[in-house]
Every structure is written in structure tokens, then in C-alpha cells.
């Protein structure tokens, strides 16, 4: 990683730690939401940015994770077990869902996951005996670890930030391993990856299942953050929102989901003045951005930075020539 990249990440992390001390309770809620949604977006970025598959199911996985945590903790299961269960369940469902869809062509996963999101929404809404139907699940607990009660907004934010850090590090480590390199190969040139002996289908399926698992973890955190969940929170709009987050941030870039989630959480608040027109403006911005910068904001910054540094590099010989010519 370049020195500028490390510096940017350090500044970002510092900002995330200082921010809650300078914010009102609602601001802390917003940055907690940012941390939670970033985890789901990192998961989707694995599927979309690295394995090159469009998934419209990430919102549904967030929902499955949220309901799993809420229902298990209410049944008296200890928080850590319920939390792990949210992720594991989503991993299993992701595997089962991806298996048929990834047998066939690239755009099929998009449709199958679209269908899946609708089915999950219907199940959450209709199976009242389990999920409480449209009334949702109330009074979801926040965890206590060795006497550290995360009930307050600030404490819970740091818990979310902690989980986000662990997951980011794990994903970063995974992407540097031969495994992660295989993911990138899938996106860049699937046919060549196949010809080099990579089992492309298995790797794509793995990327999708791991991405789904992160969606589940994000959902578990989401449930305790809002403390009240209902089916409508996990309808198709949530999946679209997550998808746009990854794209706007920069799909296939490690920092993309962080930036995308930040914009998606903050933009509606900044655009309060535009009242109801927020979504129109957001949609229009995405449409304008796609042809100009399909690689997202992080991609734009990286390309800008690279072109700056290479220009400097090209100027060097010229200045050397000038120095020599001077005496």
C-alpha cells in the first residue's frame, strides 16, 4: 500500500474515534449507522467489486441477521452466540442461494437475489408467529461485556466501530492472501482465471457467501442500534441503497464502502433543505456519475492522485535538464 493510502486510512480512523465527542446524540446515532452499514457494504463489495456479481439481496441478509439476533436474544440466548449465529446463518443461506444462480450466466444472480429479497420480505411480514409481522420486534437489547454496558449511544458506537475494525482487518488480510487475489482475477478476466486452473464458480460462491455473512453481522448490529425492527426496513429499497453505496464509494476499492456509506448516511441529513427532493437528486447524481466515473469516488481520487504523481515524475527529467543547463 502506498504511503498516501496509509495516511488517508489513519486520518479516517482518527476522525472516526474523535467524531462522537463532538456530536449530539443524533449525530452519534448517524455515525453508528454509518459503521453498521459499512459492514454490509464491505460484504457487498466482495460480491460486486471483487467477484463481479450484482447482488440485490444484501438488504435481505441484513434483515435476516437483525431478526436472528433480536429473536435469539429475546429467547434468552447470550448475545455473543446470537451475534455469531446471525453471521453463520447468512453464510449458509448465501451459499444455498448462490449455488443455483452462479451455475448460469452473470446477470442471473441479480434476478435470483431480487426474487430472494422479495421472498424474505414476505416471510418477515406474513409469519407473524415468529417475526411479529408488521408490528416488528421491540426492545432489542444492547450487549454487556465483562461489565462494559453498551446501552448508551456513545458506548454502542465504539462497540460498532470495534466490530467494523475487526471485520475490515479480516477482509483486508483475506484480500491479500492468494484467495483474495483469486477474487480479483475473477473480476478482471474470468475466462483467463478459469484457464489458469481457478475453480471460478467455487470462488465466486465463496465471495458471495462471505459477503452475505457480513450482511448478517451488520444486521445484528443494526437490530441493537435501532432497537426496533420491522419488515419494511429490509425491503428491496435497502438492497438498492447498499448497492448504490458500494458503487458511489467505488466498487472494487477497499475504502469504497466506507466512503459510500458515509455519503449515503450523511447526504439525506445535509439535503434536509431540499425536503422531498432528496431521492431525485441522489438518483440524478448517480446517473451523472456512472458515465463520468464508473469507478466511484475513491476510484476518482486514486486516479487523480496517480495522474498528479506521474505528472511530477514526468517533469523531473525536465527540471534535471534545466539544472544542467543553468550553469
Amino acid at each position: 500500500m502506498s504511503r498516501a493510502g496509509v495516511l488517508a486510512i489513519a486520518l479516517f480512523a482518527l476522525g472516526a474515534i474523535i467524531a462522537p465527542f463532538m456530536l449530539k446524540p443524533f449525530g452519534i446515532f448517524l455515525i453508528s449507522m454509518w459503521a453498521v452499514l459499512t459492514i454490509a457494504a464491505i460484504g457487498l463489495n466482495l460480491t460486486l467489486g471483487y467477484a463481479g456479481q450484482v447482488s440485490m439481496a444484501q438488504g435481505a441478509f441484513v434483515g435476516i441477521g437483525a431478526y436472528t439476533l433480536a429473536l435469539l436474544t429475546q429467547a434468552g440466548v447470550p448475545y455473543p452466540i446470537a451475534f455469531v449465529a446471525s453471521g453463520v446463518l447468512c453464510f449458509a443461506i448465501g451459499w444455498l442461494l448462490g449455488y443455483p444462480a452462479l451455475r448460469v450466466q452473470h446477470h442471473y444472480l441479480a434476478f435470483v437475489t431480487l426474487a430472494f429479497t422479495t421472498i424474505v420480505f414476505l416471510l418477515l411480514r406474513n409469519e407473524e408467529w415468529l417475526t411479529g409481522g408488521i408490528y416488528g420486534v421491540n426492545a432489542i437489547k444492547r450487549p454487556v461485556f465483562f461489565g462494559w454496558n453498551t446501552g448508551k449511544a456513545m458506548d454502542y458506537y465504539f462497540f460498532c466501530l470495534g466490530v467494523l475494525s475487526v471485520i475490515s482487518f479480516a477482509v483486508w488480510w483475506m484480500l491479500r492472501s492468494p484467495w483474495g487475489r483469486a477474487f480479483v482475477a475473477l473480476r478482471e478476466n474470468p475466462v483467463r482465471a478459469l484457464s489458469l486452473g481457478l475453480d471460478t464458480r467455487r470462488y465466486t460462491l465463496m465471495a458471495f457467501a462471505i459477503g452475505s455473512m457480513l450482511g448478517g453481522f451488520s444486521g445484528a448490529l443494526f437490530a441493537s442500534l435501532v432497537q426496533f425492527i420491522e419488515p419494511a426496513s429490509f425491503a428491496l429499497n435497502r438492497s438498492f441503497d447498499l448497492l448504490l453505496m458500494v458503487i458511489v464509494g467505488g466498487s472494487g476499492y477497499f475504502m469504497g464502502p466506507f466512503v459510500g456509506a458515509l455519503i449515503s448516511v450523511l447526504l439525506p441529513e445535509w439535503m434536509r433543505i431540499t425536503e422531498g427532493y432528496y431521492l431525485i437528486i441522489y438518483a440524478a447524481l448517480v446517473m451523472v456519475m456512472m458515465p463520468l466515473a464508473p469507478y466511484g469516488i475513491v476510484g476518482l481520487i486514486e486516479r487523480g492522485y496517480k495522474s498528479l504523481t506521474t505528472k511530477r515524475g514526468q517533469q523531473k527529467p525536465a527540471s534535471v535538464v534545466a539544472e544542467r543547463a543553468a550553469p
Partner: protein
Amino acid sequence: MASFIQLLVSGLATGAIYALIAVGFTLLWQTSQTINFAQGEFVMLPAFFILIAMNHGAPFWLACLVGIATSVVVLGILFKFIIVDPMLKHGVLPLVISSIALALFLKEAVKDFYSSQAQPFPVLVSAGDFHIFGAVISSQSLVVLGVAIVTVVGLHLMLNKTRLGRMMQATAQNPTLATILGVPVRKMVLYTFLVNAVLVAIASILISPIYLAKFTNGETLGMAAFLAAIIGGFNQVRGAILGGIILGILDNLSAAYLSSQYRAAFPLIILIVVILVRPQGLLGRVEERTV
């Protein structure tokens, strides 16, 4: 039995509308690899063009013509030149994202600038019922069915019996070879966008009296188009027609006989079964993977 026939006919009518939407959807895919996630919103919008024309005092028939013409300009020409063309060089995925954003944009625009309430929409013929074998069949379903059949047959004749239609098919099947043979490929691709715009406008006129014109209509209709296209076969016009009709009938029968709560889930289960068993769709050809 009587109620079964009733459901079958109304299912056939809805299915015919789905088929129109799905045919346009597959045409765009075949000629320009455009997966139009805004197809449902494309059906929702022309109804509002027509309502706006009527608010300005136009009679219904004139408003329909204005609606179809506006739809050709906005959803055909502008859509192709502003959204699709700049994206094509970036591949399939960015265009998918763009069309999702477009769907959101159209939906919100109608909500904010027209109304968030469902709007009544004039019917093509005044209400009346026919009695066949004890079943009551509304004249509306028959008219919907009739118009849809005429449109599909007309499209079929155009694609298969005219020089223009054959050139469009050649473009869809092998653009490179079509270019060599002197087919103006770019013009043909544009024509498929225009055909799609006309199809969605007709579908809009047929479905809006039943569903009422509302900004959220596109969600279910777009889904129906994808499902019909995949069930029938993504690369065949007749596949899309078959898929649409199966979907419409299934939708009505399952709501009545199985579970109305899970009405929306049955087509999705069929979708997953089709993908598992026959991924190219019921009538589709297997597409080769390209490098």
C-alpha cells in the same frame, strides 16, 4: 369451474400485458445488452403522460396518441442517447446501476411533481359483462386480451415478414455479420428502443385502468417482466410471450387457490426452479460465453 374460467381469462389478460413488457425487455437485451431495470417504471410513466394531456383538455384517444408519442421520445430516443449510449463502453454492470438509478428517479419524479396518490385512469370500453358457461367475464379483460394479441401478432409479423424486421433480428443475433452484410446496425438498435417505448406505452394504457395510475406500479410490473423473460427464455421473443402468459395465469390462480399472502412468492419459486432445471428458459437458446 365457472370461477376457474373467470380466473383463467383474467389471468390470460394480465399475462398478455406482462408479455408486452417482457418482449420489449428482451428486445433491448438482444440488440444492445441493456438489462433495463427501469422497465417497470417505463410502464408506469406513459399513464401520467396521458393524464397530463387530458388535464390540458385533450380527449382520451388524442391523449393516448400524445402519450405514445411522448413515450417514444422520452423512453425511446432520450433514454438511448442520454443513459444507454454513454454507458455501453463501460460494460453491462454500470448500465444496470444506471437503470436502477433511473427507476428511482422516475418514481420519485412522478411522486413529487404529479401525485403520490393513485389516480383513476379511463377505461378503453365501458364496463359490461359476458356470460359464458356460467362464468362472468368482463369486457375489459377481453379488450385487454384483444389489444395485446393484436400488438404481439403485429410485432411478430413486423419482425419476421418485413425487411426491416429481419434486419433488426440480424442485428440482435450477430451485429458484426449484420454490419458486413450492409445492415445499418446503429439505426436498428435505435429502432428496438422505439419499439420498446411503444410496447410499454400500450401496456401502460391497458394496465392503468386495472391498477390505477400510481408511482409505485413499476415495482411489480418490472419484476413481472424480468420473471417472464427468464422463465420463457431471455433471448427469444416468443419465450417472453410464453413467460408472460404463464406468469399472469399463475398469479391469478395461486392467489385464489393457494395463498393470497404469498401470491408474490409463487412466480419467484417458479423462477428458481427454471434456473435450476433449464437455465436458458423454456424456449431459450443456450448462449455461448464470450471471452
